[in-house]
Symmetry: C2
Subunit: 168 residues, 2 copies
């Protein structure tokens, strides 16, 4: 009852970027690593907790794509939809960690299978909302995302990350 994290079902960290490059497939014997790249826009790190259900996804998508955190050329802050900017969504289960002594515990993280389902829904619904927006769609902007469960090898170039925490 006194647990302040009781109601948190998903944790996101948002950063602004000029360019980002993310590994979506590590190198294998047969093939080099595969990467995706985005330009100016927003990086969204996401983690789901136990108790998270698909019902929270529409609200997450709506908030993440509409919150005014992107710096337009005018200096004004607008949404990534209105910028219009690229979107890179990175699964980041470590965000659910809780420091305990010198270690970190992840007891409240959602299970892997359910987490993958939620992450997939988040990508799908983000894509739907972005594609349905003429400003965003016609600007040649892209949505990319990391591979759930993989190591998220990332390069990030910013004009100020402008880091925000948004919980759902």
């Amino acid at each position: 009852m006194a647990d302040p994290d009781k109601a948190v079902r998903a944790r996101t960290v948002l950063q602004q970027c000029l360019h980002a490059k993310l590994q979506v497939q590590p190198p294998s014997e047969d093939a080099p690593a595969q990467w995706v790249e985005v330009g100016r826009g927003m990086v969204i790190y996401v983690c789901f907790f136990k108790g998270a259900e698909e019902e929270i996804i529409p609200k997450m998508v709506n908030t993440l794509l509409n919150v005014k955190l992107c710096e337009a050329d005018s200096g004004k802050h607008v949404s990534v939809l209105d910028l219009p900017g690229d979107v890179l969504i990175i699964p980041q289960a470590t965000l659910g960690g809780k420091v305990k002594g010198r270690g970190v515990q992840y007891h409240t993280n959602v299970g892997k299978e359910q987490g993958l389902g939620l992450f997939t829904q988040l990508i799908l619904q983000c894509r739907q909302q972005l594609s349905g927006n003429p400003t965003w769609e016609e600007a040649g902007t892209v949505l990319h995302h990391g591979t759930y469960g993989n190591r998220q090898v990332l390069q990030l170039d910013t004009n100020g990350p402008y880091t925000h925490l948004v919980e759902f």
Copy 2:
């Protein structure tokens, strides 16, 4: 009483890096921009809230430098002190933001002057603890930090950011 953020006095986000470059002085008419660079180690974004006092700094320093979040060559996770790794501390007042509609409010952030004092103390005490550790000190590792109040123009290269949220 029902405010889950009531007790939070400082918010940090930790990321692991292979290399990071941060602008500490923007370009002027007379001089180019000044940057600091770190190698393999930890990036710490930090924000203080209203009610934060210097008393919390020792605990912050102790936790941030001793929590086992850095991947050693063995694959085991160790502290940045034990890695030993570089440390880059970035003031990031935006971490105190709260989404309200499509905007973000920063009403609970500490005032600028007090925030600068706390940030300065954090750097000072981190430096003391790092310098007092022979493993860290003799490895040629460095501690760098951003300029409080400036835009934190940042480039980050990671082998997986392994993003963690740690609040105090």
